[in-house]
Subunit: 630 residues, 2 copies
C-alpha cells in the first residue's frame, strides 16, 4: 500500500453497479489520484475522462453516473457534507457536476463508501439499496411514474428504515427531460439533466443506510478548526446574518436594486414586481422555519407554507433565489406564493426549476413576438405574468406532453426546432440557460459564463465579487485574471464538495488558507494554497479537455446575441453591455493566462504537461494538430 | 491665490467665535493644508496641535472646540455628509474627534462655511445662530438646564425656522460630566466629553440654516461615481442587507455567538440574555421605522417606540449596538425596552451612552465585590440586572448628584477615588472605556485598542476584519501591520468624514481606490491610494505627537489587567487572552512599522521628516532628548 493510501476522510471504496448485467461490486477508489484530484468534481472529471469514450450519447447505456461524497463528508467540518453527482450531460454534452446539501453524503460514508458509479441500463425499473457494506439492486416497478415525494415515502417502507437517505428521480427523469434532476430529501441535484441519464438507465433511486465510523487524520485539530470556521461564519455578515435570516432570496432586492435582476426572459434587468418576490416579503408571508444541512451553521434553507388561495396548502423547502428568478421575474410573475407552488411542482416532478422557468420565459417571449401561436402551444396563451399557466405547463414538460415535449429538450434544441430566429430568445450557452445573475451588468462574470464548462451556470464563476464591490464592476480591466482565480476557487471547493454559499469564508476570490487547512486536518495531506491553485488548474483543464474531445472550441465560449448587442434597457445598470469585441478581447487574455491555444481554445500540451497531465496532453496534441491541419 | 486654493467641495471659510470677547469672525480655511490634511480629523488635528498650548485644562477657556464638515458634505457622495467635532478631551486629555450623521453638515456647507471654531468662555449661556453668511451670538439663558430635545424645540421657535439644523448640549454638558455629548438632531457626537467642553464655555448650541450652493469639481463624475457607490453598497451583504434591515444591533447575536460580547463589566464574553437584546427581537418588538442620514442609502438607523410597561411611551432613534452592549449586557440587563428607555434618557440629558453604561457596570462590579456599599451609593443596591436602577442612576450622573458625581468623572478617575484595587474593574484605556468589542477575543483589535489615541474607541482600529474572517482571528502573526493599515483607513475616512459603517466599501482593511476617487471627483485633487496612505500616516502622527506633548508614553498603550491576565471564562472564545508579553511583542512590531521610538513610543524625527512634518519633528526631537536624558 502506497503512502497515498493512508489519507483519511476517504473510505477508499466505491460501489460499481452494472445495470445491464445486474451486478454490484465494491472496488478501490483510485487512491493514487486523491492528492492529485482531491475528490468530488476533480476525481470524477478524471474518472469519466478515462471511462467514457468520446462521442457517446448521454442518454445511452454507454454513459455513467457517479455519486461521490467528498473527503470531509460525515465529519463536523462545516458545509463539507454535500453529495456530488457526475455524468456526461444530455443538456450540454460536456462533463457535468452538481452537488446538494442535506444528509445523504454522511450516510453513504457511514455505510462505508465514498461513492457509487452506475453503468449500463436495466430492462426494468430498479433501485440500489446500500445497507452498510451490503448492497443490492431491487425492483422499483411499483414506483415507476411516481413523483419524488411519494417515491421517497414508498422506499422507506420497502426498506423498512425511516432513517435511510434517498436520492430519487421523478417522472421528468423517467421521460428523459433534458433537465431532469435527482432529488435527495428536499434538495436537488440539478441543471444538467442527471435525472434523465438515470431515467435512461431505468434507475429510480439510490437508498443508503450506514452506521459505521469514519477515520479522521487529526481529530482534535479538525474539531478545533471546525469550531473556528463556524465562529468565522457567524461573524461574517453573509454567512452569519444574511443567509441565516433571508436565505438566498436576499438576492432579489440586492440584484434588483443594482439593476442586474433578469426579468421577462432578460428583456429587463429590473422587475417592477420584485417587492412581491423579495426575501422580506417571503419571510413575512410564507416562511415558517429555517433549515440547515448536516454540519452547517448557516441554516440558509427556508421551509415555507402557502396559506392563501389559489395556492393554499403548497409546502416547499424554499423558494431559493434562482427559482424565484426563473419561475418568478423571468415569467413576469410577482407572487411569492405562485413561485412556491411552481417550485414545489418542479421538485416533486424531479425537474430543474431554473431550466423550467427560463424555458417557459423563452416560450412566452416567442409567443408574444409571434414565433409561436396557440396552435403550437396546445391552446395556451403564453403571455408573461399569467400565473395560472405555470402548474399546467410544468406538468406538460415533465410528461413530455404536447407542447411540453418541445420545451423538455431545453431552449437551445427547442429554438432549433421552432426556427424563425427564435434562437435569439434562447438565453443559453452550451445548451444550459443563464442563472439569475446578469452577464451584461457584471463583465467579469460574463466572461465566466462564456468560458464556463457548464455554460449558463453561476457556479463555474461567481457574480459575488462584482456584486459586492470586492472588485470594480464597470470595467473589464483585470477581469480575465480574476475569472481564472474564481474558477479555481469554485472547482477546488467542488472537489472538496464544500458549499459555495460560504464563499465569503473560503474566498471569495482566491482560495483562502482555511480551505486547505481543514482538508489537511481531516485527511493528513499537507497541501498548501499554492498546490491547491495548481490542483484546481489541473482539474479545470481535465474538464476543458473532456469538452474539447466532444468538439467544443473557442466559438462555443460565447453569450447570446441579446447580451452582446442589446444594452440593458432599464434601471441602475442601464446601458451596460458586453460587446462581442469586448468579450473576444477578454477571452484572448483569459486563454493567454490559462495557456490555451488562442485560435481554438484548446489547452496546449505544454501547459498540460506542466500540470502533470501527460496523457491528456497527448490527446489535445492530436486534436490541435487536426485543427491546425484544416 | 495658490493653485491649492482652487480645490472644490470646501467653502474655504470658517467662523471663529471668541466667547470671552463675544466676537464672531469669518476667516479663510488654511487652504495650503487641504491636500496635506484633507479635512475633518486630519485638518482639525493639525489646527489644534498648532493652536492649543500643551498642558491646558480641557475644561478651561484655553481649550477650543472645532466643528468641521468634510469635503464631501452636502454633495450626493454617499455617507459623506457627517459633521465632525474636535477638541482636547476632558476624558482622555488627548486630541479627540467624533463625527455624526444626520443633516447638520450639509446645512453648514449651504450656509457657506466648512466649520466653526469656538474659543474662550462666555459669562452667560449663549448660542450661535448662523443664517447663511450672517452669524450672531444669542442669549440661551432660557434653555440653560434644559434637556436636548426641549432645547432643540425652543431653538427652532427662537430662530423662527423649523428647518434649521441644531447641535446642542444638555444638562450633562452644562455640569461638565466628562463624557457629555453634543446632540445634533437625534445623532450624538460622543464619548470624549466634547459636550462638557462646550458646557465649560457656557455654549449651549449651534444653530445653522443655509440655502447657498456648493461647488463640485466634476459634477458629472461625482454623480456617476456616487451612483456606482450606492449600487456597490446595495450589492454588499453588510451595507445592502444587514445594516438596512437590522442596523448595528445585528452585532448582538454575531458577537455573542462568537463569544466576544462583553457582559457584566467584561466578567463574561457571552450573555445569557442576548436573545432579548438581539436585532431580531428588537425589530419584532419596538422598531417602527428605518431612518437614513443625508445622502446615505444604508438607512441603518432604527426608530423605536416602546409600547409595553414599565417603559411604555419611550421613543428613541436606536438603540444602537454599542448602547445595547453598554446599557444592556454590561449591566446584566436583557430587556431591549429597558435599553431603549435608558438610551433615550442619555440622549436627552446629552450624555454618552457607552461611557454611562460601562460606568454603571463598573459601579455594579465594585458594589458586588464589596468596594462600594449602599452608604456610598445613596442607598442604591447596585447589582447587575437591576433594570429599575438605570433611569435614576443616569439622572444622578448627568446632574452630578451624590454618587452620580463620582461616576461623572469617568471610570479611571472614579477608580482612583474609590481605591481598594477598584482600578482592576475600570475597563478603560487612556481614560475612555472599551466599546462592545472584545480585546481578548480579537488579538489584532486588542493592539488597536492599546495603541489607539482614543483608548477604548472602536474607531481607531476596527474589530471587523477579525470578526468576519477577513484576517485569521486566533493569531498575532501579521497583526501589527494589519492594525497600521486599519488605523490609516480609519483616519483617512475620518478626515473625509465618511461613515465607518460602510467600511466594507471603503476597505475593509486597506484604503480602496474608490475612496480617493470620490474625493478627487468632488475636489479636483488627484490623490492616489499611495498618497492617501501617506496622508493617513501623517495625520496619525500629528495626533500621536499631540498626545506625546501631553505626556503620553509607551506605558500608556496598554489594556486593563483583566484583559491581560484573565482568559475569557466562557463561550466559544473561552481561554483566549492577550498576555502582557504578547501585547508588548505586538507593540514592538507596531512601533517598528510606524517608525516610533521603541522605548518611549514617541514618533522619531526621521519618520516625521519623511512625512513632511518638520516642525513636529523638532518638537518630538526635544521631548525625545529629554526622555533619553532621564
Amino acid at each position: 500500500m502506497s503512502r497515498a493510501m493512508l489519507y483519511k476522510g476517504y473510505t477508499r471504496k466505491i460501489l460499481r453497479v452494472n445495470l445491464t448485467e445486474g451486478t454490484v461490486k465494491a472496488e478501490e477508489l483510485p487512491n493514487g489520484q486523491l492528492r492529485k484530484y482531491i475528490g468530488g468534481a476533480g476525481l470524477a472529471a478524471r474518472m469519466l475522462y478515462d471511462e467514457l469514450a468520446p462521442g457517446i450519447d448521454p442518454l445511452s447505456p454507454d454513459n455513467k453516473v457517479l455519486f461521490l461524497a467528498g473527503p470531509l463528508a460525515g465529519t463536523i467540518a462545516p458545509t463539507g457534507s454535500r453529495i456530488g453527482v457526475y455524468t456526461k450531460s444530455p443538456l450540454t454534452n460536456g462533463f457535468f457536476h452538481s452537488s446538494a446539501g442535506g444528509y445523504f453524503a454522511p450516510e453513504l460514508k457511514y455505510a462505508g463508501y465514498d461513492g457509487v458509479i452506475i453503468e449500463g441500463a436495466s430492462k426494468s425499473p430498479v433501485y440500489l439499496y446500500v445497507d452498510n457494506e451490503r448492497a443490492e439492486l431491487r425492483d422499483a416497478s411499483r414506483v415507476w411514474g411516481e413523483r419524488t415525494d411519494a417515491t421517497q415515502q414508498w422506499l422507506k417502507g420497502d426498506i423498512g428504515d425511516e432513517a435511510a437517505q434517498l436520492a430519487v428521480i421523478g417522472p421528468a427523469g423517467e421521460r428523459l427531460v433534458r433537465f431532469a434532476n435527482i432529488t435527495a430529501g428536499c434538495r436537488s441535484l440539478g441543471r444538467g439533466g442527471i435525472g434523465a441519464v438515470l431515467g435512461s438507465k431505468k434507475f429510480k433511486a439510490l437508498a443508503v443506510r450506514g452506521k459505521g465510523k469514519l477515520a479522521v487524520h487529526d481529530m482534535e485539530g479538525t474539531l478545533k478548526l471546525s469550531h473556528e470556521i463556524m465562529q468565522i461564519m457567524q461573524g461574517n455578515p453573509s454567512t452569519g446574518q444574511v443567509l441565516p435570516w433571508f436565505g438566498t432570496p436576499v438576492l432579489v432586492n440586492a440584484n434588483n436594486s443594482l439593476g442586474v435582476f433578469g426579468a421577462r426572459n432578460w428583456q429587463q434587468e429590473t422587475f417592477e414586481g420584485a417587492e412581491g418576490l423579495s426575501a422580506e416579503t417571503m419571510r413575512q408571508k410564507i416562511v415558517v422555519r429555517d433549515k440547515a444541512c448536516f454540519a452547517c451553521p448557516i441554516k440558509c434553507s427556508k421551509y415555507s407554507v402557502v396559506t392563501n388561495a389559489p395556492f393554499e396548502g403548497y409546502t416547499v423547502e424554499g423558494p431559493e433565489y434562482e427559482n424565484i428568478f426563473a419561475l418568478g421575474s423571468m415569467c413576469g410573475i410577482s407572487s411569492i406564493e405562485a413561485v412556491a407552488a411552481a417550485e414545489r411542482e418542479c421538485d416533486d416532478l424531479g425537474m430543474d426549476a431554473i431550466e423550467t422557468g427560463v424555458s417557459i420565459a423563452f416560450a412566452m417571449e416567442n409567443f408574444e413576438k409571434g414565433n409561436l401561436s396557440a396552435r403550437d402551444t396546445d391552446g395556451l396563451e403564453l403571455r408573461f405574468g399569467k400565473t395560472e399557466l405555470m402548474l399546467p405547463l410544468i406538468g406538460k414538460i415533465a410528461r413530455r406532453e404536447g407542447f411540453g415535449n418541445l420545451l423538455a429538450e431545453g431552449v437551445k434544441r427547442a429554438a432549433e426546432k421552432i426556427g424563425k430566429g427564435s434562437e435569439a430568445f434562447a438565453m443559453q450557452n452550451k445548451g444550459m440557460t443563464f442563472a439569475g445573475h446578469s452577464a451584461r451588468g457584471l463583465p467579469g462574470f460574463a466572461l465566466g459564463y462564456a468560458t464556463g464548462p457548464r455554460g449558463g451556470s453561476h457556479h463555474d464563476s461567481r457574480p459575488t465579487g462584482e456584486r459586492c464591490g470586492i472588485v470594480q464592476r464597470d470595467t473589464i480591466e483585470g477581469k480575465p485574471a480574476y475569472t481564472v482565480k474564481v474558477n479555481h476557487l469554485m472547482i477546488f471547493t467542488d472537489s472538496m464538495i464544500i458549499c459555495h454559499l460560504a464563499e465569503a469564508i473560503w474566498g471569495p476570490v482566491e482560495i483562502k488558507p482555511v480551505v486547505v487547512d481543514i482538508l489537511n486536518r481531516v485527511t493528513g495531506m499537507d497541501v498548501t494554497t499554492g498546490e491547491a491553485e495548481l490542483t484546481a488548474e489541473r482539474i479545470w483543464n481535465v474538464i476543458r479537455a473532456f469538452a474539447v474531445r466532444e468538439g467544443l472550441r473557442r466559438k462555443d465560449d460565447t453569450l447570446p446575441k441579446r447580451f452582446l448587442t442589446e444594452p440593458i434597457p432599464d434601471g441602475p445598470s442601464k446601458g451596460m453591455v458586453i460587446t462581442e469585441e469586448t468579450l473576444e478581447k477578454m477571452k484572448d487574455e483569459y486563454y493567454e493566462i490559462r495557456g490555451w491555444d488562442r485560435a481554438t481554445g484548446i489547452p496546449t500540451p505544454q501547459r498540460l504537461l506542466a500540470l502533470d497531465l501527460p496523457d491528456i496532453a497527448e490527446d489535445m496534441k492530436q486534436i490541435l494538430s487536426q485543427e491546425q491541419g484544416r
